[in-house]
Symmetry: D2
Amino acid sequence: MSFASDNWAGAAPEILDAIIRANDGAAPGYGGDTLTKKVEAKFAEIFERDCAVYFVATGGAANGLALSVMTPPYGMVLCHEESHVQMDECAGPEFFTGGAKLLPIAGENGKLSADAIRKTLKGFPHRPPHGAPASALSLTQGTECGTRYSVDETSVVCAAACEAGLSVHMDGARFSNAVAASGASPAELTWKAGVDVLCFGGTKNGCIAAEAVIFFDRHRAMDFEFMRKRAGHLWSKMRFIAAQFDAYLEDGLWLKLASHANAMAQRLSSGLAAINGVSIMYPTDINELFVTFPDGVADKLRDGGDIFYPWITPGDPADGRGHRLICSFRTTEEEVDEFLERVRKVCD
Amino acid sequence: MSFASDNWAGAAPEILDAIIRANDGAAPGYGGDTLTKKVEAKFAEIFERDCAVYFVATGGAANGLALSVMTPPYGMVLCHEESHVQMDECAGPEFFTGGAKLLPIAGENGKLSADAIRKTLKGFPHRPPHGAPASALSLTQGTECGTRYSVDETSVVCAAACEAGLSVHMDGARFSNAVAASGASPAELTWKAGVDVLCFGGTKNGCIAAEAVIFFDRHRAMDFEFMRKRAGHLWSKMRFIAAQFDAYLEDGLWLKLASHANAMAQRLSSGLAAINGVSIMYPTDINELFVTFPDGVADKLRDGGDIFYPWITPGDPADGRGHRLICSFRTTEEEVDEFLERVRKVCD
Amino acid sequence: MSFASDNWAGAAPEILDAIIRANDGAAPGYGGDTLTKKVEAKFAEIFERDCAVYFVATGGAANGLALSVMTPPYGMVLCHEESHVQMDECAGPEFFTGGAKLLPIAGENGKLSADAIRKTLKGFPHRPPHGAPASALSLTQGTECGTRYSVDETSVVCAAACEAGLSVHMDGARFSNAVAASGASPAELTWKAGVDVLCFGGTKNGCIAAEAVIFFDRHRAMDFEFMRKRAGHLWSKMRFIAAQFDAYLEDGLWLKLASHANAMAQRLSSGLAAINGVSIMYPTDINELFVTFPDGVADKLRDGGDIFYPWITPGDPADGRGHRLICSFRTTEEEVDEFLERVRKVCD
Amino acid sequence: MSFASDNWAGAAPEILDAIIRANDGAAPGYGGDTLTKKVEAKFAEIFERDCAVYFVATGGAANGLALSVMTPPYGMVLCHEESHVQMDECAGPEFFTGGAKLLPIAGENGKLSADAIRKTLKGFPHRPPHGAPASALSLTQGTECGTRYSVDETSVVCAAACEAGLSVHMDGARFSNAVAASGASPAELTWKAGVDVLCFGGTKNGCIAAEAVIFFDRHRAMDFEFMRKRAGHLWSKMRFIAAQFDAYLEDGLWLKLASHANAMAQRLSSGLAAINGVSIMYPTDINELFVTFPDGVADKLRDGGDIFYPWITPGDPADGRGHRLICSFRTTEEEVDEFLERVRKVCD
């Protein structure tokens, strides 16, 4: 059984159907097609305001390109020390921004606090042109630790950035899971709380390759089209990303898929927590959880065919003993229960 | 009727079928899946040698990433002045390579000659570290002018590069059309003629988004995986690019689609050439042609709903009066004939 | 006898004296000292207007940094195909700008014409975001071919750039020689004619290492201080560059040194032109000249200890047979005459 | 009285004399002169081994360029969170390396420990190509906190880097002060302890603008000349940097100047430590010290004309209450004693 990653799960059938439908007839390239226009408008509706929307195929591209128009090349971007932009993009943000500095900040449960941001900034007094001036804050929603920021937490953290003149980027590779878990609206979790640019992910939650970079203020997006093009991220057959989002946003499919994945993670988390010797490392807010097993248990599970990755990070509370388990829109209750059964046996 | 671009055509049904098939079950991400491995092996077969193969979604990414491991950031890449890398990627190669210099060279019919390359290099004597040392040559096959290099032409041009210590990159966004038109084997048109790295395009010829960067010498590819990842071009659900190539390479589909597009362009070219006042600007070797119409004709055709773009380039032989017409795997004989009929009427 | 380069000549005594004087007492670093402020003001006086002035130590830094704030990283900078930015800075402008494209343009005598600029731009129609948008024009005054633009020529060329929305950069590594030769004022040759940013060189004309980047509109310079700092070009002991300029601008020393170098080049040029079989390749406007000798002559001169470099460039009118001879503020009439005598003997 | 920075101090007379001497006659540019060759050889002697030596004018350039050939653009460079490369170069290392990631690490007294390095690396498990692979460690000797690494400390820290496959860069802007204070040989403090590349500073210790990048293994330096040139850091009149080092290394001038500055800092440190309410924040190993004063004292001293900067950093042990005082080769005993006297009065 694989709890390796939500990107192992393939695509939701609705997404594939939409791709097939979108193939009908000729359509202008590079986003000039009507479907792309339609879906851009859908985003405006979901976020309850006019916004500039750009599609790309990967989360790394979305984050890097978003940051590339949010910071000068000599700027500094604050982020969590376990964030994807810091840990998992092979120095992509530095590449896309032309060499901006990423400043990793520690924080419990994968989250940044307003205090941590203020304290950090205090250590970087304004000394132009010596220090790289802090230009942006990058938040992750839901976080790499399977947690999420509440609306209040988001507002408070954004306020700390805003008071220092930083704009706020949100890596929303698992934004759908965070929204589904929170009950808050997409608008409340983003621009109403102070987020300037959101990378809205579809890939991890049932799309093939579909990410949207959403600028809540169009003026910030001025250079984006050029930056996307030169980075090779402007699709000629753009309608096939648009089609994915068309289905994804239709009738709340995105939240339905995310809710299911979240529920499976909850079930798995509760089940594991009840097993002697198994510990859950962080609150299970979304569709991933992090656990420590008694010695030898993880190896035995893997020998039995279960797939999940060790979880080792800079701020590691388990000192290298953690494991990450991710549920997806495709994970079933039966799979979860079977796995729990196996863990129970091995732990006995 | 649209002759705007082969990327307006959408996807071939076999490609979509393959995507749907590939969705079955969980699969490791980032190219660790069996389908990716299988398709990489298929490329080795088609090119008759071991090679390193990497998938990306766009031609601009393929070219930029390929060049990024073929030149140091202070190097110089020779290319045709009308090539895609020079004209249509928004300074992408400069971005991917960390600032290498592109040197545009003129040449008839979109092609570089060995003489032009030698003459150019003569004007850049070796003066380290003052001049950016010439590091690579970029060829386009088929060219932006709808022509192609024969095997002999390729060999001769590569030899001029090789004798100066340059490695050879081939932008093969329309490689399929060139192969289909030439009757030569993929191997003969590439590594046997001196090409080091090929960007093998699928997108313009019936795929959704599928390009393969092929290193005929694995050693050259050493850094590629890191460069692709940091540029946001490593797909998590890689199997969906692999699936496209799986179908594309199966039973020669790629050549079948390309041959059809080529034939439609031939039909269109012959038909137009026979019309009074219409001139064909370059030999019609592949699936695109370039024409000048009598005054007012192009506007009337566009007013009537036909879609094609003006063709204006640095080495423009028509001084701004040319138009580009592209056929795709989806173009039908009827469409061609209908359009020809319309042109005849308008030209009368 | 060395006619190798004006940078072989060392420093003028006045420059060294000023450095020694500047060493008196403590002074704030990084340009916060009074001498730097004073010299910045001197530039405003010489150019008859308020301007932002920044010092760096090399011409390559001046050009690259100036361009880095004049073009977005995806922009295109037009320049002469034989210009220093294109030929002699090891892809520095591409590095400093974060990957902007340099577009080399041919032109007689090292000069760009308005026609050539207009014709070039015509081949690059506005197609955002595909082509890199033309953002700046770089002129060289005096040119790499030892010629100079008159005030009228400068105005006409700048107008061609301006009408296309390009800003104008002037590489003035030998600006002093051009001013001295022209009789026009610094203002007339720059901002009054349409130049936006001037790199004003001191190094080749008697300074040790002193170049000033002058923005005639302060607003354009906004990011410059950060770009200079991150590129390692902000001197901590800035007063020692300021001191060089202080002496250089005092009592017209810069024009006196340049006039002398120009006069020596004139003397050399006239002398050589009178020798049978020696040809002067371009007009000798400033302090360098380019000649072809009868076969074997250059080698014999070099064997006899004379030093000068072959002149091989992309637009080479002598097909590899040219040589460059440069005079400096230190070149004497006796040296010129002795050399002429030797050439006469060898040519006999 | 200024304790603002060692770069306020100007140049030592011997350095100026050498510059004047070096001006005699013509000399090849770009480091082809005999003086440059001679001084390169001097460095080999001082470091007791063959090495590749390159001169630049600023410490930021030295560090950035050194790192640019020590890490791929997608690599990660470990450094102290208070180091110059992290705090004071405006994201220069990210620029020079083409986007490598700097990873700041905390450590007492401005120093990194082997434990901290090992613990940090443990949090970045090898997951190519996702995480930016750790490629280099950057140490600062003497540190930004006025401390220094002993030979043993250096060896132990380098070993932790070496065992993880990292190469070691040493920012030696105040290397002279560290050597003078340690009594160890330059070789013992660098390559014998495991340092691969040293940026040897002259500017802060009596030169005008002179830094040497020293590769203890020539093979590592392969691309350096190109990288330096394209970054505008290759001086045409290189002899004037060489001349500074010529004098600086002659008869141990570099150590004499550094010893004096160190001694003045010691005197100042002891004096201040004896004053009621004044605390010294770190051990005073070299020529700078960091102090906290009783409330109001710093302001009164500044009002009285004394100059020194507040000291605020990420790992700030004084929570924003610290001040930095730097002595230079020019600081006199009288100046120190006068200042101490004033502090005593104000503190009374």
